[in-house]
């Protein structure tokens, strides 16, 4: 598996130090903040249908986020994580992939899942952890997963999915599937040991994996620059592992499309792992449990508002005649109504049956687990009022 590459190190006779700025990586931008293209920019493959689908998905996610943050504030769901400001990253990168490619995410990539076709009902069922949730109500909100859509179930521990993506892609390569794996993570997660393990192994094994880092400036309250890392962000690390690397404007749908399309080609046709560092800004709080006013300024947030990925795309689409103000408003109202209807519906669906508590720990419940469930049921029968979710339909 090791490639034949000799250490051809040039010899110098005076100390020659390389500092953190020996390599500085530029940022690919195609669509300017004013909604026009850079002259001579290298364009991705796209057509109107694709761009409209990307736009509509971004708007859906933004609307879903707004509504569900409100629902959390009203105490209707326990927790939520928005992706405001980063919708272009997940949606446009998913648009550059084949539907058969595996997606492994961190938790702020619901846009990729929506692009693949996860329905508003499916989102709601997970958020309300009801009996229609594919995850059987076991994980916190926003921990989505769907085998049919090749979207690996999200887990909370940061960075764990990164070496898993390397392993998954290894299997895809060995099985000659012609598919790849994309793995999303934030710049904070890139400080975990699993990031190092994953990129190094991917480079050694030459597997078809796209590491997609969302550098949004903050890991909860910790600013990226100076407190998460001392170097030039995440991108130079890819070079250190011997990997093709690019930095892009994560708020530019066209830059994300262009880079991910090329990354996919490199991954699938040449078995080259690729690192993409997408620069963006987490416009919302980290989660509904976080208030960003405690650690950053209104001015900084305003600076980023003018770079908003959805506004930028809409400006361009309007110039192009692919979108008009009325459509935006109509579409927004339509999506809002759909989200609200689905919310009200999902809220009414009961929790999964208590028997689901012991299923899927193993492929079959063990004798000890069955015994523990029976004891629990006996207890619930004794105190039905204390366990209203299950006591009504225990047998």
């Amino acid at each position: 598996m090791a490639k034949d590459k000799k250490h051809n190190t040039e010899i110098v006779t005076k100390p020659q130090w390389f500092d953190g700025e020996s390599v500085t990586i530029p940022m690919l931008q195609i669509l300017k903040e004013d909604g026009s293209f850079h002259k001579g920019a290298d364009m991705p493959e796209y057509d109107k249908d694709l761009i409209v689908k990307i736009h509509d998905t971004m708007q859906f996610i933004r609307t879903l986020d707004e509504r569900m943050i409100a629902a959390q504030r009203q105490g209707r769901i326990s927790f939520y994580l928005a992706s405001r400001g980063e919708e272009a990253e997940s949606v446009a990168s998913a648009a550059a992939l084949d539907d058969g490619d595996m997606i492994m995410g961190q938790y702020r990539e619901q846009g990729a899942l929506a692009y693949r076709g996860f329905t508003v009902e499916q989102f709601m069922n997970q958020l309300f952890s009801n009996e229609k949730d594919l995850g059987k109500g076991r994980q916190m909100p926003v921990h989505y997963g769907c085998a049919d859509l090749n979207f690996m179930t999200i887990s909370s521990p940061l960075g764990t999915q990164i070496p898993q993506a390397t392993g998954y892609a290894f299997g895809q390569k060995m099985d000659k599937t012609g598919k790849c794996t994309i793995c999303y993570f934030g710049e904070g997660a890139a400080s975990e040991g699993d990031f190092h393990a994953a990129l190094n192994m991917a480079s050694v094994y030459k597997v078809p994996v796209i590491f997609f880092c969302r550098n949004n400036g903050y890991a909860i309250s910790t600013p990226a620059q100076g407190e998460q890392y001392g170097g030039d962000g995440i991108a130079p690390r890819g070079i250190g592992y011997g990997m093709k690397t690019i930095r892009i404007d994560g708020n530019d749908v066209f830059a994300v499309l262009r880079a991910t399309q090329e990354a996919r080609r490199l991954a699938v046709e040449e078995n080259e792992p690729v690192l993409i560092e997408a620069m963006s800004y987490r416009m919302s709080g980290h989660s509904t449990s976080d208030d960003p006013t405690g650690y950053r300024t209104r001015e900084e947030e305003d600076d980023w508002k003018v770079k908003d990925p959805l506004d930028r795309l809409q400006k361009w689409m309007m110039n192009e005649g692919w979108l008009d103000k009325d459509h935006v408003e109509e579409h927004h109202a339509e999506v809002k109504a759909k989200v609200l209807a689905a919310l009200k519906e999902a809220e009414k669906v009961p929790a999964p049956h208590i028997d689901e508590l012991i299923n899927d720990v193993y492929d079959e419940p063990t004798p000890l687990l069955k015994e523990q469930l029976e004891e629990l049921k006996e207890h619930i029968r004794k105190y039905p009022d204390a366990y209203p979710k299950t006591s009504g339909r225990i047998d």
Partner: protein, 325 residues
């Protein structure tokens, strides 16, 4: 049948598993062409190619993270951690990821094809970091299976079951017995069920329970006790998680006495779990306190290894104390 030591039996199981399915992969530090520091994977690269049996970079969390991903893709991933003592960097991947993969996804995804092989245990002058028995750390983890064999026959049958079991399995190999334990082993494929304890010898006066390398100590102690006229029922637990409560409690209901031996330190060791469960289920039948013969609560020592180990004399004394209670 062929005479094999425990390493050869493991090598034979890997060989048969890899022959059976193209998507069985074996990997770890130095496990490639070199065949592993204990030679458990020797010959596999020559036979199945460098893409089926290969080296990994030196990173345990990466090995298990990679293995989780590969297993979730539908392959059989047989990962080696060079020593059980070095499994802790992968603790997060095992406990938070492997063990919960199926449950958290509602069975949308699983890593049932994962097997983690690791040499464990003392008695080889390995000091702190080449001697540990970490089973109890993992036994507190719903979703994992933990298996350890006592001899070459058991090793091959249990490993073949572990590789093709639909759940992630931690397979702990008693390295003290790698070459010391030999026996007749079928050359063809066979399996031994997981989750089933083995009654090695029937008896009526006392139940003596252990697993892995500790079974050798246990059997020696029992021989001595039987010379004194004590009829011992000897049980090899084989699977630590999920463990065979039924077989163990049935035995204690019959004998009324239980001695459990383990290599690991006593506090928080798996013997404590067994003792608590047995006293709960067999309270009225117990004739004496349940005895745990263990390592003491210190890091695994070098110069005092002999004193530290839960050897046959300590087990023998525990049997006598129980009988004379």
């Amino acid at each position: 049948m062929a005479k094999m030591n425990l390493l050869q039996a493991i090598n034979s199981a890997l060989d048969l598993a890899m022959a059976k399915h193209d998507n069985v992969y074996s990997f770890g530090e130095d496990t490639g062409g070199f065949g592993g520091v204990f030679r458990a994977t020797s010959g596999l690269t020559e036979k199945y190619g460098k893409h089926r049996n290969f080296n990994t970079p030196l990173v345990e969390q990466g090995i298990i993270g990679f293995a989780n991903g590969l297993a979730s893709q539908g392959s059989y991933a047989v990962a080696e951690i060079q020593f059980g003592d070095y499994i802790f960097p992968a603790f997060d991947q095992i406990v938070n990821e492997s063990a919960k993969f199926r449950y958290r996804s509602g069975n949308e995804f699983d890593v049932g094809g994962l097997t983690i092989r690791t040499p464990y245990g003392g008695g080889i002058a390995g000091g702190h970091y080449h001697s540990q028995s970490p089973e109890a750390y993992f036994a507190h983890t719903p979703g994992m299976k933990i298996v350890t064999p006592r001899n070459p026959y058991e090793a091959k049958g249990l490993l073949l079951s572990a590789i093709f079991d639909k759940n992630p399995v931690l397979f702990m190999e008693p390295k003290r017995l790698y070459r010391a334990s030999t026996g007749e082993v079928p050359e063809e494929e066979y399996t031994i069920p997981l989750g089933k304890a083995d009654i090695v010898k029937e008896g009526t006066d006392i139940t003596v329970l252990g697993w892995g390398a500790q079974m050798e100590m246990t059997e020696k102690a029992v021989e001595k006790a039987e010379e004194d006229g004590v009829s011992c029922e000897v049980i090899d637990l084989r699977t630590i998680l999920p463990w065979d409560v039924e077989t163990v409690t049935q035995s204690v209901l019959k004998t009324g006495r239980l001695v459990i031996s383990q290599e690991a330190p006593i506090t928080g060791g798996f013997a404590s779990e067994i003792a608590a469960t047995v006293q709960d289920k067999c309270f009225l039948y117990l004739e004496s306190p349940i005895a745990r013969v263990s390592g003491i609560d210190v890091p695994y020592p070098l110069c005092h290894e002999k004193e530290y180990m839960a050897d046959h004399l300590k087990i023998y004394e525990a049997i006598k104390r129980s009988m004379n209670y």
